[in-house]
């Protein structure tokens, strides 16, 4: 009974802390705007299959390139498909792929960075040189190679994006760990004979978590842009799945006379990226992290 009470208190404290952070983020206009935009996109992504007015695949020569109207709020594209339907569903794909990609990036990048920062020595040297080598390869070329060999399914895109966007997190996590390991509580833990895993889990992660989370949030917005770039080049999700990058690519040649087919996905993509950036900045400020002095990546 005593133990349950302690756990409940801990959870209550965590919830209170999360609420406090959210409150602090929302107290600044930029944070409030960022949070609102991200929340709007997340909610839209969740409900879009239920509110989409048309079948996103339905092609018809009779409805090609119709201007915005009461029937088609955002007009239609060159194959006669409803742009509103495809825009609200397009965010769903982008958010899903990049959210899980960011999680993978956070997980492997954060853990590897912390491990290298803690053990140091030759292992750290070797791992960081390998990471440096990967950082020197333009990610888009490497991604094109991967999708050329393995295809463009989400099962390929999510881990591949997660891998390439996790490289920078390794360096941030390592630098944050270096700041922590010289502190007395780590020295004490070592003196008490705690294993490296125990020190990472109980001492380091709680102290570097915030910095890594902020970095992860920033990586999410970059990944979103990267994923859309891949789709724009035709190497993201496969047609007919609606996707902003693919929609922009297909409609870019029609901009001068059918602007509606390209404006909606551009607004969707750019607003989400801005929203995530504003949220990440507000998140960092709420945690007291100065992003201008963070470790170079």
């Amino acid at each position: 009974m005593q133990s349950n009470l302690v756990t409940d208190d801990k959870q209550k404290n965590k919830l209170e802390k999360a609420f406090e952070i959210l409150k602090t983020m929302a107290s600044k206009p930029s944070g409030l705007i960022g949070l609102t935009i991200v929340l709007f996109h997340v909610v839209l992504a969740l409900i879009s299959p239920y509110i989409a007015p048309y079948d996103y695949k339905a092609i018809s020569p009779n409805t090609m390139l119709l201007a915005p109207s009461a029937e088609h709020w955002f007009g239609t594209d060159s194959l006669g498909r409803d742009v509103f339907t495809r825009t609200i569903l397009g965010g769903r794909t982008a958010l899903t792929v990049t959210f899980f990609g960011s999680l993978i990036a956070l997980l492997w990048g954060g853990l590897l960075g912390i491990f290298c920062g803690l053990v140091g020595g030759k292992i750290d040297d070797v791992v960081m040189r390998v990471v440096d080598a990967f950082l020197s390869i333009p990610w888009i070329l490497a991604m094109l190679l991967i999708v050329s060999l393995l295809g463009t399914s989400t099962e390929v895109l999510i881990p591949a994006l997660g891998f390439f966007y996790g490289k920078g997190i390794v360096r941030v996590a390592r630098a944050a760990t270096h700041d922590v390991i010289a502190k007395d509580f780590i020295v004490s833990a070592r003196a008490r004979g705690h294993s490296n895993m125990s020190i990472i889990w109980n001492e380091i992660i709680p102290n570097v978590r915030d910095a890594i989370l902020v970095e992860g949030a920033m990586r999410w917005s970059w990944m979103l842009l990267g994923f859309s770039s891949l789709s724009f080049l035709g190497f993201g999700v496969s047609p007919p799945t609606p996707d902003w990058g693919l929609m922009i690519s297909n409609a870019r040649g029609l901009m001068s006379f059918a602007y509606w087919s390209v404006i909606a996905p551009i607004v969707g993509l750019s607003s989400l990226i801005i929203g995530i950036n504003l949220t990440a900045d507000a998140f960092a400020k709420a945690l007291g992290i100065d992003r201008s002095t963070k470790a170079p990546v």
Binding site: I59, P239, G253
Partner: protein, 495 residues
């Protein structure tokens, strides 16, 4: 009097000078190519990687199609056949010189055509030329071609855009030099950058209207359109019809719509399961709504084709209707052992701007018959080497050719570019019969039988023959409104 003479002389000299300037080649005509053959791109017209945007300007044929596609004189002034059309005599134009200074004569003709038949070179045009058994040099300006069978349409075969005349013995270097008798000479060959052609002042039809032609490698279709809009190139012959509005309202450009025999298609390899079953192939082809493809992809500017590669204006084309038939397609799949349908992947690239759209529309159309199509985009560069004729299903595009040539080249069991690996003895026999038949109606019947075999058995879905939207800068003048291979390039001017 002296004063009058001086004025007269000055006026006369000015007139001569201005006349000379007016007739001199001037200006630069800039065009593009898609680098579809990557590192294999070369200037040897008979090879797979030929950069035709260059060779059609530097080299001539013996016979060329006129504005209506009828064989007309080029380096051969006239020709005649014996009574059973097994021997054809061609008289050659006199006083013609190659860019390297050597004279064009009968041995060059023999060399150029026999080289295209050389199995070691493995030219895609070899299959069509198999009918030529020997070429006899009668004199320096006369050749006699001996055929293995009667062939009433033989001059039509020689209008093939690849059958260019090159100097005798130049085979080892022609891929880099592009030497010919044409209106332009290769100054710099840079397939991945800008290839520069200079006007041939001694061209036999008169000096070209422009001083230089630049052929620029731009693999992406949209990048080529942007290049046209920004003035980097002066002509784009591959503008999608849904982008016509961009140019229609712009006085800087001229748009021309040209009906052609060029076609696009989806190719199923007939040697690969499940497409080794003719019922599966026909099911896929029946599930396509061709008119909808014409409307959606071409904005209506194309002629529906029922999987025949023979152009709509060709006298041998088989006219038929082929509406979408989903229930029949489903039945065929069931009979073939696929009651739950099939799944396949196509690999479009943007080197042909309509391919991704064709794939997307076909994907929706055939889904109704239980055929699931996955679309995987692939890079434009090297498409013809790495995807076409390699993957089980690929996208294709062909330029127009006479009926006999295209049927041989794309479907004959021994053809190098038999992209669907189609093998059908009846089809081959019909082609052989057609060639040797002197009676027009019987010949026509044989060609049409061959096309009917394609409709029943073929692995290539050909939805339409395109009308070409050609957009040029308004600075470009005198460009013939015909297909690429019939244009007389020396007449083109750029203000």
């Amino acid at each position: 009097m002296k004063y009058i003479l001086k004025v007269f002389s000055a006026t006369f000299m000015s007139l001569i000078l201005s006349f000379s300037i007016a007739n001199a080649s001037s200006g630069v005509f800039k065009v593009s190519h898609d680098l579809g053959f990557g590192k294999d791109t070369n200037l040897d017209a008979i090879t797979k990687g030929r950069l035709f945007q260059v060779v059609i300007k530097t080299q001539n044929r013996l016979v060329r199609p006129d504005m209506n596609g009828v064989p007309s004189p080029s380096l051969s002034t006239d020709w005649s056949a014996n009574s059973d059309a097994t021997e054809w005599t061609f008289n050659l134009r006199k006083g013609i010189y190659f860019h390297d200074g050597s004279a064009f004569d009968a041995p060059d003709v023999k060399y150029s055509l026999m080289r295209a038949k050389d199995p070691d070179i493995g030219s895609p045009v070899r299959k069509s030329l198999n009918v030529v058994e020997d070429i006899e040099v009668v004199d320096q300006h006369t050749v006699k071609m001996k055929l293995s069978t009667s062939f009433a349409d033989f001059p039509l075969l020689l209008t093939d855009y690849r059958l260019r005349m090159i100097p005798e013995g130049s085979g080892d270097t022609i891929g880099q030099t592009g030497v010919g008798t044409g209106p332009f000479m290769v100054d710099k060959f840079d397939p991945e950058g800008t290839t520069i052609l200079k006007a041939n002042p001694d061209y036999w039809e008169g000096a070209p209207g422009v001083a230089e032609v630049h052929v620029i490698a731009i693999p992406d279709a949209q990048a080529r359109i942007q290049a046209l809009l920004t003035g980097q190139i002066d002509m784009n012959r591959y503008v999608p019809f849904n982008q016509k509005k961009i140019f229609d309202s712009n006085s800087k450009f001229t748009t021309t719509v040209i009906p052609t025999g060029n076609w696009r298609g989806v190719v199923m390899r007939t040697d690969t399961a499940p497409f080794d079953n003719p019922k599966v192939r026909k099911a896929f082809r029946l599930a396509v709504d061709r008119q909808e493809l014409v409307d959606l992809v071409m904005g209506g500017a194309a002629t529906v084709s029922c999987d025949t590669p023979v152009m709509p204006s060709d006298q041998y084309r088989l006219q038929m209707d082929c509406p979408q038939n989903i229930s029949k397609a489903k039945n065929l799949l069931r009979e073939a052992g696929f009651p739950n349908g099939i799944e396949l992947t196509v690999y479009p690239a943007t080197l042909e701007p309509t391919w991704p759209t064709i794939a997307e529309v076909v994907q929706q159309q055939v889904a109704k018959a239980g055929i699931k199509v996955n679309i995987e985009m692939v890079p434009s560069k090297g498409y013809w080497n790495e995807v076409w004729m390699k993957k089980p299903v690929s996208m294709t595009r062909w330029n127009q050719r006479p009926a006999d040539t295209i049927l041989h080249e794309a479907y004959h069991s021994g053809a190098k570019w038999n992209e669907s690996y189609f093998k059908n003895a009846d089809f081959d026999k019909n082609l052989a019969d057609a060639r040797s038949e002197l009676d027009f109606n019987k010949r026509k019947k044989a060609y049409q039988n061959a096309q009917m075999t394609l409709w029943e058995q073929s692995g290539t879905m050909i939805p339409y023959h395109v009308s070409r939207l050609v957009v040029t800068s308004s600075k470009v003048k005198n460009l013939d409104a015909v297909d690429h291979f019939s244009i007389q390039w020396h007449k083109v001017k750029v203000d």
